[in-house]
């Protein structure tokens, strides 16, 4: 069920009405049922995967908790008998058992994900390593909806539990809701149990302002997705589908269009998901903070797909970089006189592992591997250049506040990020490299006025609609960036203004949305992750 389909709106509408009709203590049960109904729409045969993850993770969470409970009871009982050393040893032994369970869950959940998502990729590549032709080795498994999202969310929960951050959810069905809460299945965000659980399980009374605000957010999301992303994608597929014809300047156009499409599609979808949740009284974490206003790559990764980045930071980057083994090795290097190496060792290793994983998370292909590694590489490079930057700003102290300079940094970062996204846009690494070179070698400015742009499936009207819509999104983002909100500006106005503003946006979506027959129903780019 696509998020822009009538059936999704009908589904959400029915859920919404029922949600506020039934007693509040049953609301979470309705959400659970709705989530599973939603899941069934994507294919009943996928139900097994999410159920397996839910059941096994539940068992592990109970085991980890049980071990902790017994440990506490025993420590209390033998408070006087245990020496400090004995206590420590006992605690360590319990921890070890907990760890065993956690590792089992890790292997199980990531195992499922790995086989389904990466099996094909690994088999074909290993095959080619041994000289097999590859074709006969392929096996195809369709991706269950949201598997990357729920697997990561569930694993985050188990790791937090292992770290003793909170008590587990003992009600299996409540836990199942945490795993399967349907708006998140579509494309995240990846929530943490601590913040989401309260909202999920406690009932919510109808709050007109929350609901209105949620619906407005959804509408804005539909605007971004249907008017901009789904429109621009026509031109995109033309360019990427035939890189030989659409080379040179078209590569630049495609690169920028793709960056726009990616953001509008993904963040628009997230707006819909967060808005729908808000209308149900549930707060989800923000996933974007106007990433294209970033002044550097590092800044960008603090603003794009935040929930995933945080996941990798909390559960991969820090554990690796602060592991005793890594620290010990760094120490040894320092003792041997390699001060610089010692300082870099932990950060570099962890960064590259994280970015390799982030790349792989995005998809089973070399494009993403290269994309991830390049991101890691450039992040580390700019880290190395940090002192140079600092000296630069010491020399030109006024530049840091200079609007023009900052605009340059923003544009530079945007172009750089768009460039990296080409690995996602084109189907193979070699095409990316070839297109990239062609962008400079056969650049023709005339493409912009000789009508070539009208040959990629977008009409003049499309370009006007895109231009106006992008200006609208830009203005809204600009206000947000300045800490203000267009929404509250509208809310402060008289009723006719409010009606015209929101109804106007609704009409824009209805009239200018690229939906229905004649437009291919496009799937979320992030759906299949």
């Amino acid at each position: 069920m696509s998020i822009t389909s009538y059936s999704f709106l009908l589904f959400a509408g029915v859920l919404f009405i029922l949600y506020y009709l039934i007693p509040r203590r049953f609301q979470w049960i309705l959400l659970l049922i709705a989530s599973y109904v939603f899941y069934c729409f994507s294919g009943v045969r996928y139900l097994g995967y999410i159920l397996a993850t839910t059941v096994f993770s539940y068992i592990v969470s109970m085991k980890i908790w049980d071990l902790k409970r017994r440990q506490d009871a025993r420590l209390k009982l033998k408070k006087d008998e245990f020496s400090r050393e004995e206590k420590k040893a006992y605690k360590a032994s319990v921890k070890k058992k907990q760890k065993a369970w956690l590792v089992a869950a890790l292997l199980f959940n990531f195992g499922i994900l790995g086989i389904i998502k990466y099996g094909n990729f690994i088999v074909s590549n290993v095959g080619s390593l041994f000289g097999a032709s590859g074709d006969d080795l392929f096996f195809h498994l369709a991706l269950p909806l949201g598997i990357s999202f729920y697997t990561f969310q569930t694993m985050g929960y188990l790791i937090d539990l292992y770290r003793g951050e909170y008590e587990p959810e003992r009600n299996f069905f409540k836990f199942a809701l945490f795993v399967s809460y349907f708006p998140q299945l579509i494309q995240g965000p990846i929530s943490r149990f601590g913040s989401l659980s309260k909202d999920l399980y406690t009932g919510h009374a109808f709050d007109g302002r929350q609901v209105a605000s949620g619906l407005q957010r959804m509408l804005y999301g539909y605007f971004k997705k249907m008017v901009i992303a789904d429109r621009i994608i026509t031109g995109l597929t033309t360019i990427s589908g035939d890189p030989a014809t659409y080379s040179g300047t078209f590569v630049l156009v495609g690169m920028i269009f793709y960056a726009i499409d990616l953001y509008m599609d993904f963040s628009g979808g997230i707006d819909i998901v967060i808005g729908l949740s808000q209308a149900l009284g549930i707060t989800l974490p923000e996933n974007f903070k106007r990433p294209y206003f970033s002044k550097s790559l590092k800044d960008y990764w603090h603003r794009w797909h935040i929930s995933l980045c945080n996941w990798f930071k909390d559960y991969l980057f820090y554990p690796i970089s602060t592991s005793p083994a890594m620290l010990a090795r760094a120490k040894k290097m320092k003792a041997a006189g390699h001060e610089g190496l010692s300082r870099r060792f932990t950060v570099y290793t962890a960064t590259m592992v994280v970015w390799l994983s982030t790349g792989i998370w995005h998809g089973a292909s070399w494009n993403f591997v290269v994309w991830g590694l390049l991101n890691g590489f450039f992040l580390l490079l700019s880290q190395e250049l940090e002192p140079a930057y600092r000296r630069f700003y010491e020399r030109f102290p006024r530049l840091e506040k200079n609007a023009l300079w900052n605009a340059f940094r923003i544009v530079r970062t945007f172009l750089f990020v768009s460039l990296l996204c080409m690995f996602d846009y084109y189907d193979s690494v070699s095409t990316v490299i070839r297109s990239f070179i062609g962008m400079f070698s056969s650049f023709r400015l005339s493409v912009f006025w000789d009508g070539s742009l009208l040959a990629i499936g977008l009409t003049a009207a499309d370009y006007w609609i895109l231009l106006v819509s992008l200006i609208l999104v830009f203005v809204v983002s600009w206000f947000q960036e300045k800490g203000r909100s267009v929404r509250s500006l509208i809310a402060a106005r008289a009723l006719p203004v409010r009606v015209i503003a929101w109804y106007g946006l609704f009409l824009i979506v209805i009239l200018f949305g690229a939906y229905g027959i004649g437009y291919d129903a496009t799937q979320f780019i992030y759906n299949q992750f």
Partner: protein
Amino acid sequence: MDTLLEILNDLHPDVDFETCDTLIDDEILDSFDIVSLIAEINNEFDVNISAKDIIPENFNSAQALWALIERLEDEE
């Protein structure tokens, strides 16, 4: 505490660590800084700050961080 402040000042000479208590909230320390910091602390004080301790409350100010180090030393 002085050693800690020294480490912090090495990292960001431009920040007044004695008074600042929004090191994380204001994004003064990023993840790279935190990891270098943990490595340095591990060197100087011989305590292991593990991933689960990396939460804003522990890293927002030098005092908080010092309290964490003392607590971890105590546990050792």
